[in-house]
């Protein structure tokens, strides 16, 4: 049998849709475990990225941080914290937040720093205050890249929340980790399929957001940035 037939059989079994630890419950849990860290990371990374992009200070740090980020094995980091502190809210939340920051930060920075100097001069020349320049000109122009950063961060947290099931986090990863522990491929395949669907929905959501939010004049640029 192929992956899809295993996954389909498991997902379409009626019993898996009811009771505690059912598919709808873990799906909602997964959304929460991904959404919360993404939200916190965005609240930190967007203002910081705008600040660094606008002033140009700390740019080298941001780029190096984003490079170093790729080398970090998240599984190891999660397990290390779990061994020290047991499984608590902070054991999974802090690594997810900290690791979701770099992709958002670097894109926001690149977006804001990449705004055409002529456009910035024009904004200044029209008498805009620095705050107005940032909010009315730089951020809207940087929006396509800001959304790319948020998308990368979102995809990251969905994937990492799955792996965090290994240290005890709920969500769709539970089906995978518990299934592997019991050597049952059904829930493993089913959980994986649901995670993939969730990740693709996130991708679709961001492509919709970029259609809705990006100013019409920048739409071509937005497509280029993907």
């Amino acid at each position: 049998m192929s992956f899809f037939s295993y996954a389909w059989d498991w997902v379409t079994t009626d019993a898996h849709w009811h009771g505690s630890g059912s598919i709808p419950q873990q799906l909602v849990a997964h959304l929460g475990y991904s959404g919360l860290p993404l939200l916190i990371a965005a609240l930190i990374a967007i203002p910081l990225g705008v600040l660094i992009g606008h002033t140009g200070r700390g740019a080298v740090l941001v780029v190096n941080l984003a490079n170093a980020w790729r080398a970090i094995p998240t599984l190891g980091l999660l397990i290390l914290l779990a061994v020290y502190f047991g499984f608590t809210l902070f054991t999974w939340l802090i690594p997810l937040v900290v690791l979701a920051i770099p992709p958002i930060l670097v894109n926001v920075y690149e977006g804001v720093a990449g705004v055409d100097p002529g456009v910035k001069d024009a904004a200044k020349g029209m008498g805009m205050t620095p705050w107005q320049q940032v909010v009315k000109v730089e951020v809207p122009i940087a929006l396509p890249l800001i959304l790319v950063g948020l998308r990368t961060g979102a995809i990251f947290v969905v994937a990492t929340a799955t792996i965090a099931a290994y240290i005890g986090l709920g969500g769709l990863g539970r089906f995978i980790i518990d299934g592997l522990a019991n050597t049952q491929y059904g829930p493993v395949a089913g959980g994986a399929l649901l995670v993939v669907i969730l990740a693709l929905l996130v991708l679709g959501l961001f492509s919709l957001l970029s259609r809705l939010l990006v100013p019409a004049g920048l739409r071509g640029a937005g497509r280029d940035n993907q």
């Binding site: 080398a71 094995p73 998240t74 599984l75 992709p103 690149e110 990368t152 994937a159 799955t162 990740a199």
Partner: protein, 231 residues
Amino acid sequence: MMWSWIPSNWSEIWELTRENAFLGIVSPLIGLAISLPLGVVAARWRWFYPPTLVFVNVIYAIPSLALFIALIPAFGLTDTTVVIGLTVFSLCVILPNVVEGLRGVPRPVKQAATAMGYGPLRRLITVELPLATPVIIAGLRVGVVSSVSLASVGQIIGVSSLGYLFIDGEQRDFPTEIYVGLFMVIALAVVCDLILVGVRRALTPWASGRNRAAGERPRWVLTQRAPARVS
């Protein structure tokens, strides 16, 4: 931290490092081998590129653990499963850089090569690919560093890598082992990255300091053409 654990278990640590290096290096190299012809096609026939990019973005959104699991029925709990998964992810970061690198070759340079009597193939191999090398290697660096790190996730489905030190350390409640695993993964990634920087310098000796810096992150390649992935 129990330092004495390291020398007494060094042979095992080294073996796991070798396995991790194999998974993390072979995959992006296969990814490069697939990306080059595809990239040449996408750079030449423009209509081919947008759908490829959509495909790449979709594949790249798949969590690594889920992709490994999807490959199990076909390839079992083997290295092949992890190598294929990591190859696919590497492809997603290398291919856009191949295309952008080739597209970034200045038109007058291509015209000069044609004027000198170069055919399309010879022009591609002796002029365009060498000029695109810095951008292609920038993509390869992302592919190698993230594959080295991601290979450890394969341990969850039982494919041996430095991830073993994480999982064993967790089961034995032994932080030293986890620290060693983290250190070795990062060290391996850094060493591979430095080697690739060396390779780029050797392959593009004409690039001066300033040009080289431009080659690494040229204006036409946004860093997120090669977004990082760590899980």
